[in-house]
Symmetry: C2
Subunit: 307 residues, 2 copies
Amino acid sequence: MAITVVGSVAFDTVETPSGRKERCLAGAATYFSLAASFFTDVRVIAVVGEDFGASEQAVFDAHKIDTTGIQHAPGKTFFWQGSYLENLNEARTLQTDLNVFAGFEPKIPDVYRDSQFLFLANIDPVLQRRVREATPQAKLVAGDTMNYWIKDHKPALLEVLKGLDILLINDTETRMLAGNGNLVLAARAVMEMGPRMLVVKHGEYGATLFHKAIPGAPESRTFKTPALPLEQVTDPTGAGDSFAGGFFGYLASQRELTPGAFRRAMFYGSVMGSFTVERFGTERLQQLTREEIDHRFKLFRELTHLD
Amino acid sequence: MAITVVGSVAFDTVETPSGRKERCLAGAATYFSLAASFFTDVRVIAVVGEDFGASEQAVFDAHKIDTTGIQHAPGKTFFWQGSYLENLNEARTLQTDLNVFAGFEPKIPDVYRDSQFLFLANIDPVLQRRVREATPQAKLVAGDTMNYWIKDHKPALLEVLKGLDILLINDTETRMLAGNGNLVLAARAVMEMGPRMLVVKHGEYGATLFHKAIPGAPESRTFKTPALPLEQVTDPTGAGDSFAGGFFGYLASQRELTPGAFRRAMFYGSVMGSFTVERFGTERLQQLTREEIDHRFKLFRELTHLD
């Protein structure tokens, strides 16, 4: 099944203990699309500027990602500069230039109309809601958000949550959204806001899937995936978006959304995140093979299974 | 196989968001012994004061823990008072009275001489080393330590590490001991100091087993256990010591220390830690049954296994 994703395509300049890289091709929609493209067809809705050229387009083309919905606007592409020199777990933002993203009006191409999977990456909840409402055929809708929207745009965000099947956020965001410091209680409160599943991403400690009910197994339980212990994290940017791409991409590739499919999807999410952080920006995803993914999936099994 | 454990028996007064409890029976050796007693015979070396009476002795007796090595000294038992009101993940120490512990000289009763498993709980590394040297028959030796010894008593601690098979410490301690912020590299550096295995405890995120080699499977990999998502953490004190008791107790109950035994031991460690935090002090461990342990072990499997 095809996935439509709406979100940012960006250039990032990043400095980490491993070095500095100028203007990496990045943005949540880019990480998500590349990660999901190993599992299913992906269609992007985004906006780029005049500095998005043939070499950037070639990255999407090489992964057979449909870019009909990427609008080209006069001006520059969204630019973000951040540093992980003090803390590899949290970026310090040095510069944010919204550029063409400031006037972004998502438009859904007619050829995307049959997408049954929809991913709303971290953007203004007003835009997320608009895309959700314009995609009534979607049978599974997932999304991301961040502290900024939770703190200052909560009413709009709550409207989005009503239309989501799955929300993917981190520990801090979960606690902030629920106003509860206990993760289990916070997760339950967030699911009361709409989504029937919640993936809480713990960074270097993996992720937890909470749910009210999985089709076919309403009683099934919470599920945990670890992150891979890595000797070097070159650039943590995009790990969460890559997790979402692996998770949702794998789900979209399945005929039936069984409890087992969700468990494997959690592993594939962790797998994709573990690759992304090995190099700057989307470099690692750009060069990845399906064989490497399958090999690492086995590593995750060995890392967690008793037998 | 019997385990000998040396460490503290204490009274704790604790305040947490769940309430306040005066003079709980606590201390690393107490948590460890109770947790391990569900799996194997346990023998304690510790010191208590005149305030350690029949009701405290009865707790050890009810779990068939050999207390021949608990010395009774004039004065009061080790007392600790701490608060988790600001942060459930880290205690703020309000008072520490070493009392009889200040003059503790561990003595190993003759009836303990055939213990093949030795656990050195978190005490002065000078004492840990003395007990280790007086227990040459031990075939598997594990131990714990803390930031205080790493920071200010490193030479003595390094001597202890040379005699350990397994060290169990947390993330911060691992990074501090190795002087390396990357956990994988830090773990490797710590194992160069002596222990062939390292269990890094991540609090609410579980634990990771690193090793140089496991008997019979030198190539086997890192293993992860999560912590159980809990709706209420009443008192986090002793979770790490209970983990160690479940982990080491299970190992001591096994005929062969296969890679699978170490994996299951990690799960039993998490299981015992998850019970301890449900109530104040050792209350939950005192009332626990083997059936509850086995049931929770199954929950951990469901939480982590794909099939």
